[in-house]
Structure formats: C-alpha cells, structure tokens
C-alpha cells in the first residue's frame, strides 16, 4: 500500500497554498503539524479529491485520486462538516454508508458497531442537532471509518474533544494505523507526539521537516535553554530570541527559548520536545507583540 503525492501544487490567484509537495506514505500514522494558513487543509482536500490541484498528482497503488476506486479506499473527516437537520446519528451513518457503496445490511451492522465504538450507541436515535461539539466530532470519526478505508484522512480530528475523549481517540487511531495509511492534521502537538509514527511539519505550503519524533527534533537539539532573569534582561532576550515560554515567578522572569549558544550566564540547556520545535517555527510575530 503506497500513497504517492507528486509535486502537488495549489495556487489561488497570486497565493500558493500548497507548493510542490512530494510525499510517499505507507501504512502508519502521519501527523501533519502546522499553523493556521500553512496549507494543511488544502493539502488534505487535494488528497481526498475534494479540491483539484493546480499541478501534480495523487495516486494510491497506481489509482488516480479522481477515480471512483480511489474514493472507495478513502475515509475522510473534514475540519468542518455539516449534517441534514432531520438526521439522527444512525440515519447519518446509513446515509454515509449508502454513499460509500455499502449494502443496507452492511451499513446497519457497521453503523451499530461504530456508534458503539465511539460511545454514541445510547444516543444513536437522537437528532444530531442536539449533540455537543465532541459528540459530533466522534460521529465524524465513525463515518470516516465506515467503509474500512485503506487511507484515512482526518483534519483536526481532536478539535472539540475533551481530554478523556482525546485519549480514547488516540488509542483508536493507533490501532487503525497498523493496517492503514492515516494522515491527521492538528494544532495539538501532544496528539501528534503520542500517535504519529512520522511527523510532517508544514509551513507556507511546504513540508519543512519530515521524520520520526526523534529525527525531527534534532533540528533544535541542544538549542533549547531555560533561565530565570530579571525583567530588563528578559525584555532584551524576548526581543532577540525565539521564545517558547515566559512565566513570571518571584520577581523574576522564567524563559524557555531557542538559541545557538547560551543566551545568558544562568541559562541551562534542556532536552528539546516537539512543542519547542513547533513554537520555534510558528510563533513568529508573537514575541514582537509581547
């Protein structure tokens, strides 16, 4: 099983949303990490055939994204999806089952099984409009795996889920990733850290880093420092270095920052985590406003 993305580009007037991205994805969980507007959703939409690329191609086992056979292998959870107001969760699952080519009997069985899996079976006959955000999100996840897809694309799947639901979801995705290609995008760094076997860091329409957690954080290994300094020194450091964390404590300012060399005498180097890398790349402008 191989999903090949070859020089995929999406241009809208003068703005390039996705810029010549090439990837080869095999079984496993891939975490797509990037700030708002970095092109994650556009990339995912093109992988799902919802948006046509300006150039480049997407193929799964040689089948083009525009073909019905490709869509038959696909499960997709968009960032923002709706539902027909008269639908209950069960109706919604049956409807999605019909679109995914399941027979009525298969759709009924799978709907019951998956609603149970996402803990919605007791409210399956309730109208979706009465659901909370988290319940809708769980329903969205259930519909995405209704056809037992080989490619599972999840755009911000943990948005709206409470911590308990997120843990449950992570476990589910980890299980699914064993025999599927799972690509999920999120802002929540810890979700990616826990479940993704490979991390894709996206910025300005391009993949700037790709690899396992260990590989990816080598970019800032030995460059993350922590120090407690007085306010004047803190102001100077904030202006000069990419800041990951600022905290006021006992008349001093605690800073966690990224620098090539120790930024002050009291600075100590600390192990880098994915969040450091994320903030290093995506908190541009934040420091300037502080």
């Amino acid at each position: 099983m191989e999903l090949i993305i070859d020089r995929l580009t999406k241009q809208y007037k003068n703005k390039i949303a996705v810029d010549r991205i090439s990837l080869t994805l095999n079984n496993g969980v891939y975490g797509l990490l990037g700030a708002n507007g970095s092109g994650k959703t556009t990339l995912m939409r093109m992988i799902c055939g919802v948006l046509k690329p300006t150039s480049g191609e997407v193929k799964f086992n040689g089948i083009d994204v525009s073909e019905e056979e490709y869509r038959d292998s696909l499960g997709y959870l968009p960032q923002d999806f709706g539902y027909y107001p008269e639908f209950t969760a069960y109706d919604f699952m049956l409807y999605m089952g019909s679109l995914k080519g399941l027979t009525k009997q298969q759709a009924r069985e799978k709907a019951n099984e998956l609603l149970e899996l996402v803990a919605l079976s007791d409210v399956a006959k309730k109208k979706i409009k009465a659901y909370s955000g988290g319940m809708k999100q769980r329903l969205g996840i259930a519909q995405a795996i209704l056809n037992n897809p080989k490619i599972l694309i999840l755009d911000e799947p943990t948005a709206g889920l409470d911590p308990k639901e997120r843990v449950r979801f992570r476990n589910l995705i980890s299980r699914l990733g064993k025999d599927k290609i799972v690509l999920l995008s999120t802002h929540i760094v810890s979700d990616v850290e826990y479940i993704a076997s490979e991390i894709l860091l996206m910025k300005d329409g391009q993949i700037i880093h790709q690899g396992s957690l260990e590989e990816i954080i080598t970019a800032i290994k030995g460059k993350v420092f922590e120090c407690s300094v007085d306010n004047q020194v803190a102001a100077n450091l904030i202006a000069e270095y990419p800041i990951i964390n600022v905290r006021e404590e006992l008349g001093k300012t605690f800073l966690r920052l990224v620098a090539e060399t120790p930024p002050c005498e009291t600075a100590v180097v600390v192990p880098a985590v994915l969040e450091d890398l994320y903030l290093y790349y995506f908190n541009e402008g934040v420091n300037k406003n502080e």
Binding site: R45, C48, G82, L99
Partner: protein
Amino acid sequence: MSNNLKRELKSAFEAPIPTRKSSFLSQFNYPRASRFDFFKRQVGYIRKRVWILSGFLFIGTLLGLYCYKVSTSFVWMVSSVLPFISLVSMNEIVRSTTYNMDELEMSCKHNFLEISLIRIGLLGIGNVLVLIGILFLFVGKTDFGFFRLGLYLTTPYLLNCYGSLFAINRLKSREITYVCGSVTAFVSTLNALFTMQINIIYTERYWVFWIATFIALAVLSAIEAVKLIKKTGELQWSL
C-alpha cells in the same frame, strides 16, 4: 467431538482476543451495493415535502377545474403557483451546500456529482410530470391549444429556474435558500401583475413574445444547470 466436550473446553479456556481481525477480514471482497441500489436509496433521501407540494398543486388544480369555471385568470393563477414547485426542487438540489455536507459527499465513492445528478434528474422528471399532468387537466377546458397553454404555464416556471440557478451559481452563501425564495416570490408576483395588467397578454398578438421568451429561458436555464453540475465536481474554494 461431542457437544459436552466442546462446552467443557469453552468453559475451561478463555478464547484470546483477536489481534488482526480487521486486517484478516479486509482480505475478502464483500458484495457491494450496486449503482442501482444507490439510486434507489437516494430516491428515499429526497424530502417528502417536494412530492407533497407537487401533489397538492395537482390536486388543487383538479379541484379548481371541477369547482370553478375555467378562465384566463385560472391559467395565470396556476402559472404563478408553479414556480413554487421549482423552489422546493431547487432547495433540494442545493441541500448539500446549504447544510455543509458537500465536502463530505465529494470524498465518497458515490460522490456529490452523482448525488446532484440523481437529484436533478429525479426532481426534473417529477416537475415535468406535474406540468404535463396539469396541462392534460386543462386541455379542452380553455380556448388555448395544448402547446400554447404549455407556454403560458411553463414560462414563469422557467424564469424562476433560471433566476434561482443564476443566484445559486454566483452566490457562495449557505443562505441561498432565502435568495431562491425571494426570486420565486418575485417571479410569481411579476407573473400575476403582468397578466392582470395586460389583459391581452394571452392573445395571438403576443404569441411570438411567449415563444421567444420560452426558448431564451430554456436555453439560459440549461446553461446555468450545466454550470451547477460542473461546480459539484470540486469544492468552491477560496483563501
């Protein structure tokens, strides 16, 4: 092996939880729903109000023809109501966009394009059947021939189709239902006022006007319908 022994073994040893059940099951090809099954199920997802309104209009016309003397005013009344059938059909066609289901539907095996084509086809056939049914009810009860009566009844309907499709293709708003409702109200009122104010509109003198308007609106509606179908192939996207 005896049943007793089987039971004993079952109670003595707990079966392990399957570890690769889904990957094992996914090796087999299960029978899938055919395209015809999909079509049949889509028919069921068209809201009943579409068929109910069409039925009411047909029955209303039937009752009107039996209870009242058929006159020119009855023709304009029916022709002013027909755009409302087109309105409910339009709302059904743009339902996915209105309720933000289009993105999800585009990613499925039977995608948004297929769903839209089925909806347009079924609703189109439904509307044509109602129009033809009403025409047959009128035949012989007015001074107008079949085709002339057809023109008088369908031209406002087509004007509404064109106006609604024009709006749907250009406006990205999810509130398009209200826009289509306004278009229908405008067309219906315009038709009523027009035919009331110009008493001779249904005479031979305006024959060419009706034919030309009908043809122009039919062509324009067809162009807009093709545009709408093309739009269903890709999400309307902007940064």
